[in-house]
């Protein structure tokens, strides 16, 4: 190999630079503390499911409610919920800054729910 030592050294430097975010982030990602609803213990489905799938579920809720007029969701435990982000979800999760945003911001996710849906306490206008 011509100039082998230079190539290998440069490749190593590039490799270190490329993976530097992994070395530099000490302790890794910490799950932010969320402000949970004070007067409600159970969400629509289990915590694990909601944490992983709430976005797909909201999409499904929207399509079911708007396109098929299915505006009631019967959860696995038999409890019935009105399908509405604004009137069901936000009734319990009434502080979007300390619940929704806490996770979304630390994960660099910026959904634009509040351009249309009205945030509790009218915090939607920037």
């Amino acid at each position: 190999m011509y100039n082998g030592k230079f190539i290998i050294a440069a490749a190593l430097v590039v490799l270190v630079l490329f993976t530097s975010p992994f070395w530099l982030s000490k302790g890794g990602y910490k799950r932010p503390d969320l402000q949970l609803p004070a007067n409600e213990k159970e969400c629509v489905e289990t915590v694990d499911f909601m944490r992983a799938e709430h976005m797909q579920m909201l999409n499904e809720w929207r399509d079911q409610a708007l396109r098929s007029e299915n505006r009631v969701y019967v959860a696995l435990n038999g409890k019935k919920w009105e399908i509405s982000l604004q009137n069901t979800c936000l009734k319990c999760h009434n502080n979007t800054e300390k619940f929704c945003d806490a996770c979304h911001v630390s994960n660099s996710v910026y959904p634009y729910c509040w351009t249309c849906h009205i945030e509790p306490k009218g915090k939607g206008d920037k």
């Binding site: 799938e53 079911q64 505006r71 969701y73 959860a75 306490k121």
Partner: protein, 259 residues
């Protein structure tokens, strides 16, 4: 060499097909949520919702204003007159609303009066045909509805609608109506870049209530199932002469006017 390349392309083609078929199958997978979906307990059902507006009972155009107010307050429609106007229900002269009528002479109110106009929730809605994203669609009960999440603001529907029933949000509706001043906090507002229109109050029907304008009219507007011969609307249409907007276009509007 040629046979090799031919063989390679065959394998590549088959693999691409198999991969994409697998992906498509996964995308078409069933529901995410483990629960079930159903209609609300009080939902009003119809085969085809229709409206009959008895204009004989509205002597002046001011009598229509409470209906428009009720509608626009129920759906957080901002008041921004001029070129950026958003209208779900509005007033227009007879000649503008019913240009098919070529008669020279008619009742006085055809010349001077105004008529309430709204989305006709057509049986053959041209707006639904042209929507490239299925943001607007016809539901089983005949209501032509909108999903603002999917609207990309192309405004094909506005060009297709022969009734001018659709409005585009050229500016942020929250400038005229900040979210903390929205008259109905249970209903969303809209965002710039989407088209909106009357929904026949699908969200109120789901809760067992009649549309806001029908409720505000105190019985002067009838609302019911056009497929059911025993419904109020069908009885009113059987007993009275009615007109519709631009019937010659064949869209089969669902809003009838008694004149």
């Amino acid at each position: 060499m040629n046979t090799d390349r031919r063989h390679f392309l065959k394998i590549a083609g088959i693999s691409a097909f198999a991969l994409s078929a697998g992906l498509a199958g996964r995308a078409a997978e069933a529901a995410v949520a483990p629960g079930k979906y159903e209609h609300g307990p009080n939902t009003l059902h119809a085969g085809r919702w229709g409206m009959v507006i008895d204009t004989r009972k509205f002597p002046s155009e001011a009598d229509y204003l409470p209906l428009i107010k009720a509608c626009h307050e129920a759906h957080n429609v901002p008041n921004q007159p001029g070129p950026h106007e958003i209208k779900w229900m509005w007033l227009a002269p007879y000649k503008e609303g019913f240009p098919d009528d070529e008669n020279h002479y008619g009742p006085e109110k055809f010349k001077t009066g105004k008529f309430p106009l709204l989305c006709n929730h057509c049986e053959n809605p041209p707006c639904v045909r042209v929507c490239p994203t299925k943001a607007t669609y016809k539901m089983e009960d005949g209501i032509v509805a909108m999903d603002y999440h999917r609207c990309i603001g192309c405004r094909f529907c506005m060009a297709a609608c022969p009734f001018g029933a659709r409005s585009f949000n050229f500016i942020d509706p929250r400038i005229a109506m900040p979210s903390d001043k929205a008259p109905n906090p249970a209903y969303p507002t809209r965002m710039p870049g989407v088209v909106e229109k009357c929904t026949f109050c699908a969200e109120r029907l789901a809760a067992g209530k009649l549309p806001a304008c029908v409720e505000a009219s105190g019985g002067k507007i009838l609302f019911g199932d056009l497929n059911n011969p025993k419904s109020d609307v069908r009885k009113a249409l059987a007993e009275n002469f009615s007109i519709r907007r631009k019937p010659s276009l064949g869209t089969q509007p669902g809003v009838y006017y008694l004149v």
